[in-house]
Amino acid sequence: MGHTWAVGRHPLHDVAIVGVANTEQARRLEGHTSFSIAVEAVRMALDDAGLGPGDVDGTVGAMAGALEYQLRCGPAWRGMGPANAAGVVAAGLAIAAGYATTVVIADGGAAVHTDRAKTAPWTRPENEFVMPLGMFTAAEFALIARSHMHRFGTPPEALAEVAATIRNNGSINPDAVMTGRGPYTAADVLASPMIADPFHRLDCAIDSEGGAALVMTTRERAADLPGEPVYVLGGSGDRFGPAYQHPPSWDLGGRTDLVNGWIGRRAAEQTFAMAGLSPADVDVAELYDPFSFEIIRQIEAFGFCGEGEGADFVLDGHIGPTAKLPVTTDGGVLSYSHPGASAQMLQRVIRAVQQLRGSCATNQVADAEVAFVSNGGAGALFCDVLALGREAAS
């Protein structure tokens, strides 16, 4: 089970998220580059926080270097990972350890997917052991889904129920790229064209353009800012190797007997221990949904239900916006947006912050106190998680 933390004593408890922003999200944003849309998100997130560029002394994300120069914020601390949930943990630890006071985490995607005869570039990484075999993200995640279906008898209808639920969250969200599309039933999902069996088109993430940014600072400084801070209760991540280079097998193992099929479980156990919480305490789960099946796997891996019980959990209606565990309430990457390689992961964190602030225009979960966030998935050999709270850890 690993190390457990005394509640209230984890360094992440010394930091807060004080600003978040998504720019407009669309299939195509004319006149923007990935960097220009990320900068727009940064401007909006700093404004949300009541801060300016002169306050920033740390950056995270693939564009961190360009952002430092754009914000004229050096000498600055730079996180060496992508702008996602893992970046929030890295920034939080850096702030808690005194490397920086106020960190901007940002990314964006625009004018990247230009050859529409091919799937989006981030879906088809080049590697000698995958590319000649026609592998791409849908196939990688399909191989994991098939293993689960074989092991537990998970029916295609359960995958379709996930896709319909999350896409319907996007359908009513005016900010979603796919707003107004739907509503969908599970039957609609199963009737959509097959992409990589068992995934139909409606089981798969969209691709789109947009920016996302988030600002973190010390809990102490957050108290002096005009906005409503959201607190980091815990966060961690699991990895088994590089994404999309080796067979994404269920049984891929490492040092312990926890296999890739349950990736994220160790991270979730650590995170709940840091937060002094259990899965039952979670009010809303902003889970990463690159493909419908991944939600079923994650709710089992994170302990929201038992192994092999995920299909019944979703078919019994427990992940809907007013259900026991509302999942991915803005439409996620299936419907809200998928702007590139990491902004869409940061958007799971942003949505969780909006839920805890009570500021969601659609699918606001009443009195949400604790939000759980995930990024990644077994098809990519990584899974990051966060627990965020409306109240700080005591």
Partner: protein, 165 residues
């Protein structure tokens, strides 16, 4: 089983026979470590690495044994026999060069290593977890051969279906 590939057609007129790919798909750029694997493919051998000290079969090719980190890995030739542990059928390819359908699969090989490949020379409906398969070598273009698998007829014969689950 017809390698000429006139399987049943579905509503959109696409066949259901799983054929090998042809020239035009992205081809591997071998590294110093992986070159013996690709040379094996061209020679009609499925080569894998073996750590004598640990008795561990290694795939994908690595500079060292994942158990002892020893660099004394020996290249061996696989029997080519294995069992499908997972598969998918792709109907919308990432690049236009790929002919659909094709069937990426994870195969547990008899020697104890895992191979990512495609199942070919069968109908889509024949695919299942537990399917016994054997390696088949396909020349894609000059100096580029891929290692696929196809149903292992010998192990599909009556009396051998206990391999299937």
């Amino acid at each position: 089983m017809s390698p000429s590939g006139s399987g049943e057609k579905n509503a959109s007129g696409v066949g259901t026979w799983l054929a090998p790919q042809r020239a035009g798909i992205p081809t591997p750029s071998p590294s110093l470590v992986s070159e013996p694997f690709w040379a094996g493919a061209r020679a009609g051998e499925l080569r894998y690495q073996w750590c004598e000290a640990c008795g561990v079969a290694v795939m994908d090719p690595q500079p060292a044994c994942p158990r002892c980190l020893g660099s004394e890995l020996e290249w061996r030739v696989s029997s080519g026999r294995g069992t499908v542990s997972s598969f998918t059928v792709v109907w919308r390819a990432p690049l236009p060069a790929f002919q659909v359908p094709y069937a990426p699969a994870i195969v547990e090989m008899a020697e104890g290593f895992t191979l990512l490949t495609n199942v070919i020379n069968c109908e889509v409906d024949q695919l299942k977890v537990g399917l016994p398969v054997e390696a088949v070598f396909v020349d894609i273009e000059q100096d580029v051969s891929l290692i696929y698998v196809q149903p292992d007829e010998a192990n599909l014969a009556p009396g051998h279906d206990q391999l299937a689950t």
